[in-house]
C-alpha cells in the first residue's frame, strides 16, 4: 500500500469525525438561536415575573458587586501604572487620568465586567438550571402549571441584561478610584483635580454607548447559560459540563460580538473622544 493510500485511509475517519462535529456544531447553534428568539419573545409576554426578576437581579447583580469592585480597583491601579510608564516617555503625565478614563469607559470596564459576570453568573445559571433539569424540578414547575421557560430562563436573561450596565458603571468607577489611588501615591494629585482631568474630554455619549452594549453581553450570558442548563443531561457530570460550557461559550461569544459592537458604536459616534 502506498503512502498516499495509507494517508487516505487514515484521513477518511478523521474527515467523518470533522463532518459529524461540524453538523453537531450547526445543530447546536440552530437550537441556541431558537432558544434566543424564544427568549426575546418571552421578554415581551405576560406574566412579567417582576418578583423573580428582582430576585435574580439581587443574585446576579448585588452578589457580583464585591468581585466587580475589587477587580475594578486592581484594574485601575494596573492601568494607571501602565499608562504612566507610557506617558512618562512623552512628558504627558497630565493626561494620565484622561487616558485611564477613556480606556476604562470605552473598553476595559464593559469587557472586563462582561467576562467576570460570564465566569461567576454564567457558571451559576448553567449549574442551577442543569441541576433542576436532572432532578425533574423543571418538570415539577411545568406540572404546577408554571411556564418554566418563562419563569427560569427569561427572568435570568432579563436580570443579566439589567444588571450588566449597572455593574459596568460600578466597575468603571472602581477603576477610576484605583487609578486615583495609584496616581496620588506617585504624584500626590488631589481627588478633585484627578476627576476633573479624567472627565475633561469625555462626553456623556462616550459613557452611555459602551455601557449600554453590556446589555447585549447580559443577553448572551443569560441565554447561553440558560440554554446549556436547560439542555443538560447525564447526572452530576452533565451539570458540571453545562456549567463549564456556559462560561467558555458565553465568554467566547461575548468577545467576538464585542468586535461588532465596537464597530457599530464607532460608526454611530464618529467624532467623540473614544
Amino acid at each position: 500500500m502506498s503512502n498516499l493510500d495509507q494517508l487516505r485511509r487514515r484521513g477518511k475517519p478523521r474527515l467523518i469525525d470533522m463532518t459529524s462535529a461540524f453538523r453537531r456544531l450547526c445543530s447546536e447553534a440552530g437550537l441556541l438561536s431558537v432558544f434566543a428568539s424564544r427568549t426575546i419573545r418571552g421578554v415581551l409576554r405576560r406574566p412579567f415575573e417582576l418578583k423573580e426578576i428582582v430576585h435574580q437581579i439581587v443574585e446576579i447583580g448585588w452578589r457580583s458587586l464585591p468581585l466587580v469592585i475589587m477587580s475594578g480597583l486592581a484594574i485601575g491601579v494596573v492601568l494607571s501604572m501602565h499608562t504612566r510608564a507610557t506617558m512618562d516617555r512623552f512628558g504627558a503625565e497630565a493626561l494620565i487620568p484622561t487616558a485611564l478614563a477613556i480606556a476604562l469607559l470605552s473598553e476595559t470596564g464593559p469587557l472586563m465586567t462582561g467576562l467576570l459576570v460570564a465566569g461567576r453568573v454564567g457558571a451559576g445559571i448553567g449549574a442551577e438550571l442543569g441541576g433542576m433539569k436532572i432532578t425533574e424540578q423543571i418538570d415539577a414547575l411545568e406540572s404546577l402549571a408554571v411556564d418554566s421557560f418563562h419563569y427560569l430562563a427569561v427572568t435570568r436573561v432579563m436580570a443579566c441584561m439589567i444588571a450588566l450596565p449597572i455593574l459596568t458603571t460600578v466597575m468603571n468607577f472602581s477603576g477610576l478610584i484605583g487609578g486615583y489611588l495609584a496616581e496620588t501615591v506617585i504624584s500626590g494629585v488631589s481627588l478633585r483635580a484627578y476627576f476633573r482631568q479624567a472627565f475633561q474630554d469625555i462626553a456623556f455619549a462616550d459613557y452611555v454607548l459602551p455601557t449600554l452594549k453590556t446589555t447585549v453581553f447580559g443577553f448572551i450570558i443569560g441565554t447561553v447559560s440558560s440554554y446549556l442548563g436547560y439542555t443538560a443531561t447525564g447526572g452530576s457530570e452533565g451539570v458540571g459540563r453545562a456549567s463549564t460550557r456556559s462560561v467558555v461559550l458565553s465568554s467566547m461569544l461575548l468577545i467576538v460580538v464585542n468586535v461588532v459592537l465596537v464597530r457599530i458604536i464607532q460608526m454611530l459616534v464618529r467624532d467623540h473622544a473614544l
Binding site: 425533574e136 424540578q137 418538570d139 415539577a140 411545568e142 406540572s143 404546577l144 402549571a145 408554571v146 411556564d147
Partner: protein, 255 residues
C-alpha cells in the same frame, strides 16, 4: 354541562425515544374518582405514561384526553389551565431545593390563587398536617428523609386540590411502614375527595390496596388490564413473575 365519566383516556398512544419504541398503541381509560395502577418492569414506559398525561411529553401518535379535552389540541395557556386541575408526585419528589418545605407547598398557591398570605399559611399547614409533617415547615428538602420528601411532594401536588393526581412510584426507596402510610394517604384522598388517580408502582400489595383497576405494561404494550383479579388469572410470564415476587417466591427472572 355534563360531567365526563372518563377522567382520563389514552387512545392508541405511541411514543419513541431515539428510535426506541417505549409505548405502542396503548389504550386505557380511568373513570372519574377511581385509581388506576400502572405496573411493569423498569423501562417499560410507566413514567412516560404519566408525563404524557401531564403534557410534559407529546405522543408520537394517538390521543390523550383529560376530562374529555384532548391535550394535543391545547395551546400553552390552555394546557396551563388543565394542569391546574392536576397534581403530580414525582418519583424522587422533585422538591424545589432552594425553598423550604412550607414554601414548596405554598408555591402553587402563590402562583395561581388570590389567597391572602394568612390563608396560604393556613392552607400549607393543613396540607402538611394531612401528610403528618406540619412540624417541619421550615426545614429544607435536603434535610428530609426520602419518605418525608415524598410526603412533602404529595402535599405540594395536592395544594391546589386537583381532581386528578398522578403518582410516580410512591413506595420506591421507602420502608414497608412508610409505604403503607402513603398508600393510606392516597386511599383516604380518593375516598374523601373523589380524586382520580394514576399510580405507577412496582409494589403489588400497594397496587391491590390503591387500585380500582390495574394496567401492566411490557415492552410498550398492555399485557393485562382490569381489576386485581385479572392479575391472579393472567398466564403472562412477566405478570406471573410479578406475582411470585410479591409472594416472595421468585427465584429467577427473565431478562
Amino acid at each position: 354541562m355534563s360531567v365526563p365519566v372518563q377522567a382520563i383516556r389514552f387512545e392508541n398512544v405511541s411514543k419513541s425515544f431515539d428510535g426506541r419504541r417505549v409505548l405502542e398503541n396503548v389504550s386505557f381509560d380511568v373513570p372519574q374518582g377511581t385509581a388506576c395502577c400502572v405496573m411493569g418492569r423498569s423501562g417499560t414506559g410507566k413514567s412516560v405514561t404519566l408525563k404524557l398525561l401531564m403534557g410534559l411529553l407529546k405522543p408520537d401518535s394517538g390521543r390523550i384526553y383529560v376530562n374529555d379535552t384532548e391535550l394535543a389540541a391545547l395551546d400553552s395557556r390552555e394546557l396551563v389551565e388543565i394542569r391546574k386541575t392536576m397534581g403530580f408526585l414525582f418519583q424522587y419528589s422533585a422538591l424545589f431545593d432552594s425553598l423550604s418545605v412550607a414554601e414548596n407547598v405554598a408555591f402553587p398557591l402563590r402562583r395561581h390563587t388570590r389567597m391572602t398570605e394568612g390563608d396560604i399559611q393556613a392552607s400549607v399547614r393543613e396540607r402538611l398536617a394531612e401528610v403528618g409533617l406540619d412540624n417541619e415547615l421550615d426545614k429544607m428538602p435536603l434535610d428530609l428523609s426520602g419518605g418525608m420528601r415524598k410526603r412533602v411532594g404529595l402535599a405540594r401536588a395536592l395544594a391546589l386540590e386537583p381532581s386528578i393526581l398522578l403518582v410516580d412510584e410512591p413506595s420506591s426507596g421507602l420502608d414497608p411502614i412508610t409505604t403503607l402510610e402513603i398508600d393510606n394517604l392516597l386511599m383516604n384522598l380518593k375516598a374523601a375527595k373523589h380524586t382520580t388517580m394514576v399510580v405507577v408502582t412496582h409494589n403489588i400489595p400497594s397496587a391491590r390496596r390503591i387500585g380500582d383497576s390495574l394496567v401492566v405494561l411490557h415492552e410498550g404494550h398492555i399485557v393485562v388490564q382490569g381489576k386485581a383479579e385479572e392479575l391472579d388469572k393472567s398466564k403472562h410470564e412477566v405478570v406471573r413473575q410479578f406475582m411470585e415476587s410479591a409472594e416472595g417466591r421468585l427465584t429467577h427472572g427473565v431478562i
